[in-house]
Each structure stands twice: as structure tokens, then as C-alpha cells.
């Protein structure tokens, strides 16, 4: 067969070619680009919740995952809870880290930069006056989020800084955290 594409060897294990191809295809089929991400949770007693993730909508149809993924959330002993799982806000940090690191790897791949190691440490500042209802002018959520990257790559300092900057520009979770989102909640009882 003609036009058969030989896979290009990747530096960081990211299939950038497929991503770029998807971009071209979706530009001509904008409806296919509408995705819905899903999660379903169940209360497990106390402040412990178990959330399952399996199935999302995209490319015009429902998809199943290879397996059902699970995340649990609980709260530490300081909050008078058994500390059986991370807090929901830690999962938010974990989501941001996952998104930014994936972005760094993808951008590096696209720019032909070999990554040797990438670590990120994250901190979210929060004043409990918000969630405890002590002071209505204190917000419930993070007052600031700090991300520190340590990156060893075969590139200049400026090129590595540009990877990190570009990964923020293209990150879904960075956008979710930095920009307002309408949240619609309803209930059946």
C-alpha cells in the first residue's frame, strides 16, 4: 500500500503524530470535538467517598475504558476522620500535576526535546476560615496554587522554561483552576 506511514521513533513516548492528526481531523468535524467526561461517586460513610470513572462521550459516541478506574477520598485525622484516602483538594493538585506533566512531555516531543527526568511538587494554600464558615470573605478553595518543576532535559534553560509555559497554555486543568466555570447541580430524592 502506498502512503503507508512508518511510525516515527519518539523521544519521550508521546505519540505526537496522532495528536496532530486528530487536530486536523477535528478541525473539519467540529462536532466530534465535543467531549463529556464522567465520574460517578458513592458515599461510603463518614467523609469517605468512592468515585468510579468508566465511560466518556467523544467523537460522536460513548466510550468504555479498558477497566473501571477508582479514586477514593477521605480526610485526615485533624479533621476527625480516619485518613483512609487523600482529600478531594489533593486530588485537584494531582489532576493539575498530571495535566501539566503530560503537557511538558507532549510539547517536548513535538519540539524534539529529550526529557531525562521531570518531577513536579505542588502546594495549594487554603485558609480554613472559608470552609468552616468563620469568615465569609475568605474563599473556600485555594487562595493560591504553587507548582515547582525540576526538569532534566537535553535543551537550554530557556527552552525548558518554554516547555513549562506552553504546557500551562494548553492544559485543561490549569484552565479549570484559573478560570471560572458554571457548575449545575441537581438532586433526585
Amino acid at each position: 500500500m502506498e502512503n503507508q506511514t512508518t511510525p516515527t521513533p519518539t523521544k519521550n513516548g508521546v505519540n505526537v503524530e496522532a495528536i496532530l492528526q486528530a487536530r486536523t481531523i477535528l478541525e473539519d468535524a467540529p462536532q466530534a470535538a465535543d467531549f463529556i467526561w464522567k465520574a460517578s461517586s458513592e458515599w461510603k460513610g463518614g467523609v469517605h467517598t468512592r468515585t468510579e470513572m468508566n465511560g466518556y462521550f467523544g467523537l460522536g459516541e460513548e466510550h468504555k475504558r479498558k477497566q473501571t478506574f477508582v479514586s477514593e477520598t477521605d480526610h485526615p485525622e485533624v479533621f476527625a476522620a480516619p485518613d483512609s484516602a487523600p482529600t478531594p483538594v489533593e486530588l485537584v493538585l494531582s489532576g493539575l500535576a498530571g495535566c501539566l506533566v503530560a503537557g511538558v512531555a507532549s510539547v517536548a516531543e513535538n519540539r524534539g526535546i529529550q526529557l531525562n527526568s521531570v518531577t513536579a511538587t505542588l502546594e495549594g494554600n487554603m485558609n480554613l476560615f472559608g470552609i468552616l464558615g468563620i469568615d465569609s470573605s475568605t474563599r473556600n478553595g485555594f487562595s493560591a496554587v504553587r507548582v515547582h518543576f525540576d526538569i532534566d532535559a537535553d535543551a537550554s534553560r530557556e527552552d525548558i522554561q518554554a516547555l513549562v509555559a506552553q504546557s500551562q497554555k494548553r492544559s485543561a486543568v490549569f484552565d479549570i483552576i484559573t478560570n471560572p466555570t458554571n457548575v449545575f447541580v441537581d438532586v433526585t430524592c
Partner: protein
């Protein structure tokens, strides 16, 4: 119904340059202009505006006048005079005060309806520019009433703006210039900052546009860039043309008392919700500027340009407020006016030819539009990076007038 071979819509730099090239090729044509020559320059710019590009960088085809000071920046009045002079010198057949109502395929060409009668033509050149409709974000509707909102097109001078606070949205050329003028006039200005293209006015003692021009950056073609969609959407260069060759930047504005905040993302009653991405967009702009300056260093190392300073006076990184504001309370802040300097999009609602894509842009290949005998001029990065600059229309008009002439000859040969 009047007939001509080619109709050019718009008598700005793009339409006039095309007119000159068609005259050179002996193509019978008219230029339809809704107002007077250089209408947008006359009616949609603020009073103190000077061109961003130095006088030498207005190389219109068949026009050598660079003014008495090649390195100066034309005022608005001088810019209008430039186009008036050019139009007379090339004897452009402009039909002024003639607004186009619609254009559609007709016979072997196009039918163009105007406020002053109908025209029939074989080929049609759209030179209406890319700045027809201000991109005012949809969330502006969610604001409480009582705020005066205007676009950069409607802004004229500080006297027009009520005392008190002003929110200027958009950190590109228009936004930073308007913010600076209002802050200097005593208003309390907040500037909302999304992605932008930061540039110093001069680098190593030379005007930045002279360096970029010399290094061939404005001549990059659509075949030389990775992501054409991205470069076509780039905001304007953050520059000002002034007699003192001052650099305007988020740092210089903050020195004058302007507060910078993140990109405006939403509105609720009296609040503007701002993005937490200010640090990121500023760092992106700093990194891209520094990359450009290194490219210019490399070019300078191989060239014999005189009066170049040895020291690389790389601008300081953009200073950020310690904790950028995320929610701007207009009422509490005394802000009564919002100026949207958020860019523009073209208006093709009058064009009844199926050549407009889902995002309202013309389908074209380097200005050759996806319909026989239809052409565009003056669009961002249409053929080269400079396509939407005054200095860029010459190359495009030459190339497209040649294409148009060949098209007409081909059609004639087929008919024979």
C-alpha cells in the same frame, strides 16, 4: 447596470495597492469605497494615534514618498494624507460614498449591489480588511447596566471618557496605548491581560521593526511556518510609534500606575472575573520576545548594519503583582467605563458566495479565494507575515494581480 473587468471593494492600503497593480497590467477596474479613501483610518481610530511602523516602512507599490523623516512615525492626519496622496498619484478609479450591499456569482463573474447602483464584473477583490467587527466577549452581556462600554474603534480621546476608573481589556497595541493615554490623563486604569506579543521599541539602538525587516522576518511566507492558523490569529505587536521612540510594555504601564490583571473571563453583576493565568501569559510573552531577540543577535552578527550597540539590552522580565486580582469589583473600584481592545473579525455577511468557513473566515490559498476570479487582500499572514501591514500589500498586490491577469487570459482562451 455598469460593467467593469475587476471590482475592488475597499480603498485602504490593500485596495489602492491592488488598483495600482491592475492599472499597470491594463486591467479595467473600479474601487468601491463606502466612505472616503482610507475610511477606517479616518473614522475608526483615536486622535493621538501614530503608525507603529516607521515612515520608511510604508513602501506602497509605485510610491516612493517616505516623508522628510524616514525613521519617524506618521500621525493619523499624516497617514490619511499619505493615502490621499497615493490615491491621486496612481489615479485610482475610486467610487467614494458607495457601500457594497451584496455580491453574488452572476454570469461568468459577479454582481455587486451598492448604495449607488449595481455593478457587474469578471473578477472581484475583497480588500475590506480584517477589522470590521470588534470581538467583544459574549459575557459582556452579563454585566449590570450603568457601565459605558466601547471598543477601541470607538475610542477617540480621554475627554470622551468619564472621570474615575477605566478597565481596558486587551494588552496588544491598541489596548496598551489607550491604557497609557488614559492613565496619563488622570484616569485610574486597570488593564486586563491575556496573550500578547511583547516587543521593545528599539533593540541594541536600532528600531525593532528595522531589525525584523532586515532579518527577513516579515517576508516569511505561509509555506515557512508550522502552524498557519496560529500565526494568523496572533495579536498585534505591543508597540507604540512616538517621537521619543518610547517602549510601551506592561512594566512601563505599571510604572505609570496602571494595574495589570488577568484575562477577563466572565462577568456577574458588578464583577469582572479574571483568569489566574497572568503569570503564564506574561512568561510566554517574555520567552517569545527573548527568542526573537536572540534571532536578531544572530542576524546582526552576520550583517554590516551600522550604529548597532554591542550590549544586548534585553528588557527586564514582566513584573507581576504579588497576588494578581481575580475578581474586579467595578463598583467598589469606581470603574465606569470598559474599553474592549480585544481584536476584530472580518464581516462577510454581504458576500453571497459560499467561501466563508464555519469560523467566519474566507477559504483562500494565499489570497486566491475558493471561487473563480475571487481574491482577498490585506488579511493577517495572507501570503507573508507582513500581509496585513501597509508595507505588506505591495508584494501581495503584485502576486495576486498577476494571478488575476492569468485567470482572465485563461478564461478568454477557453471562450475562443
Amino acid at each position: 447596470m455598469r460593467r467593469t473587468t475587476t471590482i475592488i471593494i475597499g480603498a485602504g492600503q490593500a485596495g489602492l495597492a491592488m488598483s495600482h497593480c491592475l492599472t499597470e497590467q491594463n486591467i479595467d477596474h473600479v474601487v468601491l469605497e463606502r466612505g472616503q479613501v482610507a475610511n477606517s483610518w479616518r473614522t475608526e481610530r483615536w486622535d493621538s494615534l501614530r503608525l507603529l511602523s516607521p515612515n520608511w516602512q510604508t513602501r506602497l507599490p509605485g510610491y516612493a514618498d517616505q516623508g522628510s523623516d524616514p525613521d519617524g512615525f506618521r500621525t493619523l492626519g499624516e497617514t490619511i494624507a499619505l493615502f490621499d496622496g497615493y490615491s491621486s498619484q496612481i489615479s485610482a478609479p475610486v467610487e467614494t460614498e458607495t457601500a457594497v450591499l451584496s455580491a453574488e456569482a452572476f454570469g461568468d463573474g459577479y454582481l455587486v449591489r451598492t448604495t449607488r447602483g449595481d455593478w457587474q464584473c469578471r473578477t472581484l477583490v475583497i480588500a475590506t480588511g480584517c477589522m470590521s467587527t470588534p470581538n467583544v466577549p459574549a459575557f459582556s452581556r452579563d454585566l449590570s447596566e450603568g457601565y459605558r462600554t466601547l471598543s477601541s474603534k470607538d475610542y477617540r480621546n480621554p475627554a470622551q471618557i468619564e472621570d474615575g476608573g477605566v478597565l481596558v481589556v486587551g494588552p496588544s497595541a491598541s489596548g496598551v496605548q489607550i491604557a497609557q493615554e488614559l492613565q496619563r490623563a488622570g484616569r485610574d486604569v486597570v488593564l486586563s491581560v491575556g496573550e500578547h506579543v511583547r516587543l521593545p521599541r528599539t533593540y541594541r539602538g536600532v528600531d525593532i521593526l528595522k531589525l525584523m525587516d532586515g532579518a527577513g522576518i516579515f517576508d516569511h511566507t505561509i509555506h515557512e511556518v508550522d502552524d498557519l492558523g496560529r500565526v494568523r490569529r496572533l495579536p498585534s505587536m505591543q508597540l507604540i510609534g512616538s517621537p521619543t521612540r518610547e517602549t510601551i510594555s506592561l512594566n512601563s504601564l505599571q510604572d505609570q500606575g496602571v494595574e495589570i490583571v488577568g484575562r477577563s473571563m466572565g462577568a456577574r453583576d458588578h464583577q469582572i472575573q479574571l483568569s489566574g493565568s497572568l503569570a503564564n501569559v506574561c512568561q510566554l510573552a517574555d520567552l517569545k520576545m527573548n527568542r526573537l531577540l536572540r534571532t536578531l543577535d544572530d542576524w546582526l552578527a552576520q550583517t554590516d548594519l551600522v550604529n548597532v550597540a554591542e550590549d544586548a539590552n534585553t528588557p527586564m522580565p514582566t513584573r507581576l503583582p504579588e497576588m494578581p486580582c481575580l475578581s474586579l469589583d467595578l463598583k467598589a473600584r469606581g470603574i465606569k467605563t470598559i474599553i474592549w481592545a480585544t481584536g476584530f473579525r472580518p464581516d462577510y455577511s454581504w458576500l453571497n458566495v459560499p467561501v466563508v468557513n464555519g469560523r467566519g473566515r474566507l477559504r483562500h490559498d494565499g489570497g486566491v479565494v475558493d471561487a473563480p476570479g475571487l481574491y482577498a487582500m490585506g488579511l493577517p499572514f495572507m501570503r507573508k507575515r507582513k500581509s496585513n501591514f501597509i508595507d505588506g500589500v505591495a508584494d501581495d498586490a503584485r502576486a495576486l494581480s498577476t494571478h488575476l491577469t492569468t485567470f482572465l487570459a485563461g478564461a478568454a482562451a477557453q471562450a475562443a
